[in-house]
């Protein structure tokens, strides 16, 4: 009889809850065909609340490593779990008026829950194997979610591109992991780190493995030159999923990147650090100048999220206490900022359902007057992207810049500044379009389905963004606490 590993059920309860929830939801939906939407919302939100509840309950506890050392639950994991689940809840809120929720709501919600579970697994991964399965769980779910917009062919196109490129990325990651395994004999981060620390960090195989792993992770993070999928997928996906990806995927991928680089590969920092520096510079500038020439707002923000990823890289490059805290704070608040922005776009698309729903600059003209709250919220989100006070984006950029300038990475901070300036130029184009008085706004918009849910979602994001900017102390403390687990191997 094989003795299974000890399992700390409380530690993995959030994921278990999500998976069980997804299962129950699908089963229940099979018996209650007519109530797809209500069922999805109630069970989906319920599951997420339970999951978040478990995470919150474990917040601040000492880190737990369970399932044969394959999974690590510390505050960073918890933070990711909470953020991701919160975003998923917002996705559900935003989808209230979506007709696909009526048709295949249970599948949608179940996939969403599974995505969250996969992200939790990634966040807590301690080995490439765990990382890979978690990554694939949420990636594969996301491929489907991206394709979920029944009407739009763009949705399928985006999904297919995402699938092909995403699989390519995963393959490269595994390939790299294989080489690292060959060089060190382990898939575990601590095993790799220990082996490299003893020597062998100069071997070409290690270099090769590091390079391939880096590519795989940078691909998921979506930085240049591995960003090609980002704009297309973000544009084609149902907008709430775009928001979810921009927020959650980025956060999770960065946490995975940080864990691998700092836990498994600290010995080869001389290899990955210059790569990240170059990539960060190229990404910040490239992402922003590409966004500058966009006319579709959804795509513009997709590009801007590429640039933002470059900015977050600075946090990893610096990776002091300040840098990592800034990274976590920046990413966590960025998640809500990005989701908020895409939520506003989603609302706009629903307002314009006849006109193919494209959120072009021209199409958005004067819309801010018809939906004053959403318009103003959009302004705040855009300013948060740009790092203006008093938004959370300001604090995040401030801390990361502070980390950079105090650690002899002034040039990175300056590049960030240049990127922000370019960024402002196009964010302002959106604002100008939203409040373009030269066009008559149609003040009496028809009642849009799900307006309440969408407004609530936007409001919640707005609250996070503003609170994170005006009273950031608490958030910074949380981020600091979570980030303190990033350098555990050192």
């Amino acid at each position: 009889m094989i003795q299974g590993p000890s399992v700390d059920w409380f530690a993995i309860a959030p994921e278990v809850a999500l998976i069980v929830g997804a299962f129950v939801l699908l089963l229940a939906a099979a018996f209650a065909r007519g109530h797809e939407r209500a069922l999805s919302l109630i069970l989906g939100l319920g599951t997420l609340i339970v999951s978040v509840g478990f995470s919150v309950a474990a917040w601040g506890d000492a880190p737990v490593v369970t399932m044969a050392d394959a999974f690590r639950v510390d505050d960073l994991t918890e933070l990711v779990r909470i953020t991701v689940a919160a975003l998923a809840a917002l996705v559900l809120l935003l989808s209230v008026g979506w007709n696909r929720l009526r048709e295949q709501g249970s599948e949608f919600t179940a996939l969403l829950l599974l995505t969250c579970a996969g992200m939790g697994v990634v966040a807590g991964s301690t080995s490439f194997v765990t990382l890979f399965v978690g990554l694939e769980l949420f990636s594969l779910s996301l491929y489907v979610l991206v394709a979920f917009d029944g009407k739009s062919r763009a949705s399928l196109e985006a999904s297919f591109k995402y699938l092909v490129l995403g699989t390519l990325g995963s393959i490269v990651l595994v390939y790299g992991a294989a080489f690292l395994y060959g060089a060190t004999g382990s898939f575990m981060y601590d095993g790799i780190a220990a082996s490299l620390a003893e020597g062998g960090s100069g071997e070409a195989v290690v270099t090769l493995g590091t390079a391939l792993v880096l590519v795989g992770l940078l691909f998921k993070v979506g930085v240049m030159p591995f960003h090609m999928w980002v704009p297309d997928v973000y544009e084609g996906a149902p907008t709430q999923i775009t928001g979810f990806m921009a927020g959650a995927t980025k956060l999770v991928a960065f946490v995975a990147l940080a864990r691998i680089l700092l836990d498994a590969l600290p010995a080869v920092e001389h290899l990955w650090s210059p790569v990240l520096i170059i990539v960060a510079i190229v990404t910040i500038i490239g992402g922003n100048i590409a966004a500058l020439v966009q006319t579709n707002v959804k795509r513009m923000i997709a590009w801007s999220s590429v640039g933002a990823a470059g900015y977050a890289l600075i946090g990893i490059i610096v990776h002091g206490d300040l840098g990592l805290r800034g990274l976590v704070f920046y990413l966590a608040t960025y998640a809500f900022t990005a989701f908020g922005a895409f939520a506003v776009i989603a609302l706009f698309e629903r307002d314009q359902s006849r006109a193919k729903g494209y959120a072009t600059l021209d199409g958005m003209r004067a819309w801010g007057f018809s939906r004053p709250f959403a318009g103003m919220a959009m302004v705040v989100f855009l300013l948060a992207f740009a790092g203006f006070p008093p938004t959370a984006g300001f604090i995040g950029k401030f801390v990361i810049s502070g980390a950079a300038v105090t650690n002899d990475y002034v040039y990175l901070a300056v590049v960030g500044v240049i990127g922000s300036v370019i960024g402002l130029a196009y964010y302002l184009r959106v604002i100008v379009a939203l409040y373009d008085r030269s066009r008559k706004s149609d003040v009496g918009l028809p009642a849009t389905p799900g307006l309440g849910g969408a407004s609530l979602a936007i409001l919640l994001c707005l609250a996070v963004v503003l609170l994170g900017g005006i009273l950031p102390s608490l958030g910074l403390d949380w981020a600091g606490q979570a980030a303190s687990f990033l350098t555990v191997a050192k």
Binding site: V129, Y143, A147, V164, I171, F179, Y181, G236, Q294, N296
Partner: protein, 101 residues
Amino acid sequence: MTVGLPLFLAISAILFSIGLVGVLLRRSPLTILLSLEVMLNSVNLTLVAFSREVGGSDGQIFALIVMGIAAAEVVVGLGLVVAMTRREMVLDTDELRTLNG
């Protein structure tokens, strides 16, 4: 055992790049998916080869997991192709370019 590890790794790398060429050059979604399978298999070969060299079963297990996931990925990929077919979309990746810029 007379065949050295580098040979296995080299074959794997060659298969990997052949698969990559397929992804880079073919326009049929199905062929692209098949090429991806070639790449996955090549990675599996590397994993198993290293596993043999290290002497533990970790690499083999990873290879098995990759295989399982490949199955899931194929399901999703083929499902997408089917969905695209049903939407009467042209099954040519060069035509799948409404999203660009």
